[in-house]
Amino acid sequence: MRPFKLLDPRSLDEACQMLDRYGEDVKLMSGGTAILILLRQRVFSKPYFINLKAVPGLDGIRDEPGTGLRIGALATLRAVETSPIVRQRAPLITETFRLVANVRVRNSGTLGGNLSHGDYRLDPPAPLLVLGAKAVAVSSRGRNTYELKEFFRGLFETALQPDEILTEVVVPDAPPKAGTAYFKYTSLSETDWPCLGVAALVTPSDGGGTCGELRVAVTSVAERPMLLEHLGPLARGKRLTERLLEELGDAAAERVDPIADARGSEWYKKEMVRVFVRRAVREAARRAGLAAG
């Protein structure tokens, strides 16, 4: 590993000043699990890193009535996974986070680090996308809020500007009676990175029996995690029959442009999108009390 200087800011302001001062020569580090692999493999290096763990108060998890869950960027994945308030307000997050990597990685890796890394093979973006989460960033210029659906821009690329620090993720309450589900599919060993992940949220319509709102997000397939907003209108007001589930799977597969990797070819991933969108929507509908299929 190449040598570097680790800077320890005592406040967020100081961290922002360090970003301004060192510019291209610096990167942020939180839990380090992802970046240390790249450093060890020498595919990435910087002369300076800013140790965000030195800044106190960025790892809180709380529920703010009217706003939703507010999760500090430095909260570890494991802290989010085991938080009773998260389980109560957003069980989809709990369900997904317990499937990320392993306990050790989840004890070190942070939510903010996970999202800002911009790797396409991550599970957490999918549930956060269907829940309509927002990412809050600060810089010496001020505060900025990104809709998560506009946050992921490409392979290892997010909307965060070089001088910005992701400080918090805000997760609005799910609509009443919503059923949610996350399906992670690993095509190699069970504990491998996902070949794909699908999160779905379904609400029953007011009269019951038919689908009200449908939200679906896919991750690990294409170069960025995506909210598939064209699926909602296809299902609204309709019974979630097996035929409609198939149409939804097909419509999802049409929209994604898979990255072929060790976990599947482009064709294979498209086929798996078809299958797992169907399964995730069916399960979310079942949990919403809607008969599906």
Binding site: P3, G32, N102, V103, T191
Partner: protein, 162 residues
């Protein structure tokens, strides 16, 4: 460029150390090279095999992906810290009784994960054990014996009243 070294205080197995380290020193290297605690092993170096597992403030982490600088001020427990007064920890005894190892390269990691698991869930179901240890890799594939060792350790700790 500023100095790329720092002084840290680190408590390892109950003993406080004052150390001078380079900023890019991994906790694994510090334990093995500086403190000569070589029971912690390096397997994959990417966080997926579990051979380098240590407890940081009681929680299992990959020491191969943890900066020593970020561990400063915290408590680290390694395999060498489990025995007390020359007597092995019940988890270690259970691994011996059940022959929960063959070549033993992965064993420190498995034992540290088992300790963390049983601290968290004293009487885990088989599924909970499998899930918790799912990314600890034993290339000798002694998994059935390891599973029995975890169950044995759980009984021993219960009998001891923790």
């Amino acid at each position: 460029m500023e100095a790329m070294e720092r002084q840290i205080r680190l408590t390892v197995n109950g003993q406080e150390h004052e150390l001078t380290i380079r900023d890019n020193t991994l906790l694994l290297w510090l334990l093995r090279d500086d403190l000569k605690l070589v029971g912690t092993r390096e397997g994959c170096g990417t966080g997926v095999c579990g051979a380098c597992t240590v407890l940081l403030d009681g929680r299992p982490v990959n020491s191969c992906l943890t900066l020593a600088a970020q561990a400063a001020g915290h408590h680290v427990t390694t395999i060498e810290g489990l025995a007390t007064n020359g007597r092995l920890h019940p988890v270690q005894e259970a691994y011996i009784e059940e022959r929960g190892f063959q070549c033993a390269f992965c064993t420190s990691g498995f034992i540290m994960m088992t300790k963390a698991l049983l601290d968290e869930i004293p009487n885990p179901s088989e599924e909970e054990v499998r899930e918790y240890l799912s990314e600890n890799i034993c290339r000798c594939a002694g998994y059935p014996d390891i599973l029995r060792a975890v169950q044995n350790a759980s009984r021993k700790l219960a009998a001891r009243g923790r």
